[in-house]
Symmetry: C2
């Protein structure tokens, strides 16, 4: 099995992380992962094609925001909260709070 490449924690780069969050769909994915933990990529609908979703998951993974692993035929994705908090303390929480204000979850 070919392993999926991820940047190390020390390699996390602020402009690259910001770029990964420069899209509403990717912010929505990060919010959902923060709220619900690891999830299969296929469970995210977002009103997007599978190719577009895959693109977004790749951007998030390559920026170091998410960890993608395979389990059988599934791809599971989770937020690299500990790595992000270690590299950029407070940034993820501030982004999640800002996302909450920007687009409140409907009750």
């Amino acid at each position: 099995m070919r392993s999926i490449p991820h940047p190390g924690t020390a390699e996390l780069d602020l402009p690259t992380v910001m770029g990964a969050l420069a899209d509403p769909a990717r912010v929505a994915i990060v919010r959902a992962l923060a709220a619900e933990g690891e999830a299969a990529c296929g469970t995210f609908e977002l009103g997007l094609s599978k190719a577009t979703r895959s693109h977004h998951f790749r951007i998030l993974r390559e920026a170091g925001l998410t960890l993608t692993r395979t389990e059988g035929t599934k791809r599971l994705v989770s937020l690299r909260r500990d790595d992000l908090d270690a590299r950029f303390p407070g940034l993820l929480d501030a982004v999640l709070a800002a996302a909450e204000r920007g687009a409140p979850v409907r009750a």
Copy 2:
């Protein structure tokens, strides 16, 4: 005199703000403005052409990160800290702290 357009505070959009910070030169401008206050656009060298610098200032202004005003023949730019703090509390400080960790200012 034609006024320079800026988004209102309520219009500040998280993915757009993140996109404005997805470039090292723009992060460097924001850090300098946070540290030193209002400055003439022309005082930023950054090793870039004037056209590229103008592009970066436009992206920052249109995202609502900065205020640009004219004074005589100069363009003065400042950080919209109060507006950003009102719309997305804690976000700017977290970004500035992350930028500091990512690229420490040399003594």
